[in-house]
């Protein structure tokens, strides 16, 4: 039956693979994701990406943050989450720019700017996925040490990029205030 869920096929985006050590893990994860309204399907991973078993769950890679968090919350074991094409790793290069009293940390398409003295998040810019305005509202004008990590509240790759900027910004702030 799991291969006959065709009513959502037209809206299926794909692009991301969850890899597993066993077929049972793959089937269990697919059920959990499906029950939580993620558009997913069971596929055979390409040979170069295969980690354990020959069954993987394909999903919209943009929703990586939400998928990974849900599987962890539900104790569904997986080996790795990868994009089907392109770079296998999320961009991990971070750039830092200083203004008079502020510091802007840039990770990919996301930028987080905080006050160097107080640690208050002054602005979040860049990105394009729908959780970014939500994260913007929930983080801006709050102290960087007092807010949840973006990857714990966001759902998308933009949220993961913001999380990279956030982690770096937090480290810079702690170094500068110690």
């Amino acid at each position: 039956m799991i291969f006959k869920r065709t009513k959502k096929q037209a809206r299926f985006a794909g692009g991301g693979l969850v890899l597993f050590q066993s077929v049972e893990e793959a089937i269990a994860a697919e059920k959990v994701l499906w029950a939580n309204n993620y558009d997913v399907k069971l596929v055979a991973p390409p040979p170069q990406l295969r980690k354990g078993c020959d069954l993987a769950v394909e999903f919209n890679i943009v929703e990586k943050a939400g998928v990974e968090r849900l599987l962890r919350q539900k104790d569904k074991h997986f080996a790795e989450i990868l994009p089907v094409k392109g770079a296998g790793e999320l961009l991990d290069v971070v750039k830092v720019k200083y203004f008079a009293d502020a510091c802007m940390v840039k990770a990919g398409n996301m930028k987080l700017t905080f006050d160097k003295n107080t640690g208050v998040i002054l602005n979040i810019s860049g990105g394009g996925c729908p959780d970014i305005p939500y994260l913007h509202l929930s983080m801006v004008d709050k102290k960087i040490t007092d807010v949840a990590r973006p990857k714990d509240k966001g759902h998308t790759l933009c949220a993961l990029m913001l999380d990279r900027a956030f982690v770096e910004a937090l480290e810079i702030f702690r170094k500068e205030t110690n």
Partner: protein, 283 residues
């Protein structure tokens, strides 16, 4: 009619449709007040300011409530796929919508059923979906920032989070190469407005305009300063300007509004938008 589609950070809002009304500080659609923050709300607010300045109708808007789960985005895609021919917009601007390539393809296909294909503009995640789905050539205007330009130049990337490291390390000095690569891979709309320390307008793969004054590096930190440009471009086109002239006017107005507002990295986008009417009067 200028139709703007995107999401707002209210999970239970469903679809909110109607003419946008912006009074200088508050944005309303129907009976709902939308916080004027980074994202599609900032874009719509800036478009309203230009519409008012040019004495044309305010843009029509379809907002979907979505905080990232994608449920609101899918409602919006479905609505557009079903209703775009009846809505028949002259200009269609797609913005913060969860990228779902199959649904973006359907939206693109259904625009062909409008009595005249609308001017197609994409920014933010809609631009990501259009590029990843191989639909860039169907769009008239993209409005990327520099990191998004790197994404357009990366043949394999389906989101800016997965661009090649060497492209991200490349700075503005390499923009010619990024444009050339993106154009070669057919990842460029007909006109591309690259927002950054130096703004560029690219038409059919060639840089036709650059702007670096007033020099305000702090604008990069302010969430929404790219959104305002995209909204103004659409509104100036609605007022009758060519795509090229609309882009120039929007880029200039954005920088000048930043200067007028005495922008700092702590400035909020609502303060920049509030300054736009002042600078438009002097353009």
């Amino acid at each position: 009619m200028f139709l703007i589609c995107g999401t707002i950070p209210q999970a239970d809002a469903g679809l909110v449709m109607g003419e946008a009304r912006f009074n200088g500080s508050k944005l309303h659609v129907g009976n709902m007040e939308i916080p004027c923050t980074q994202g599609t709300a900032a874009l719509v607010s800036a478009a309203c300011v230009v519409a008012s300045h040019c004495r044309i109708n305010a843009p029509q808007v379809i907002f979907a409530g979505d905080t990232g789960s994608g449920q609101g985005s899918r409602l919006l895609y479905d609505y557009l796929i079903k209703n775009l021919p009846q809505l028949n917009p002259d200009i269609l601007l797609l913005h913060y919508i969860l990228p779902v390539m199959g649904l973006m393809k359907k939206v693109s296909e259904v625009t062909e059923k409008c009595s005249k294909k609308p001017v197609m503009i994409a920014d933010a995640s809609s631009m990501y979906a259009a590029k990843a789905a191989g639909l860039a050539g169907q769009f008239d205007i993209f409005t990327p920032d520099l990191s998004e330009m790197e994404f357009l130049a990366d043949a394999e990337a389906i989101h800016p989070a997965y661009i090649s490291h060497h492209l991200f390390r490349a700075e503005i000095a390499h923009i010619d190469e990024l444009i050339e690569a993106a154009y070669r891979q057919k990842s460029m709309a007909k006109t591309v407005v690259v927002k950054g320390a130096i703004d560029h307008i690219v038409q059919d793969g060639k840089i036709t305009f650059m702007l670096d004054r007033p020099d305000l590096p702090q604008l990069e930190a302010i969430g929404g300063t790219g959104d305002t440009i995209s909204g103004m471009v659409g509104a100036f086109i609605d007022a009758g300007f060519s795509h090229y002239d609309a882009a120039i006017k929007a880029l200039k107005a954005n920088r000048e509004a930043g200067q007028y507002a005495k922008a700092t990295p702590a400035t909020k986008i609502s303060q920049i938008i509030a300054a736009i009417p002042q600078v438009l009067n002097y353009q």
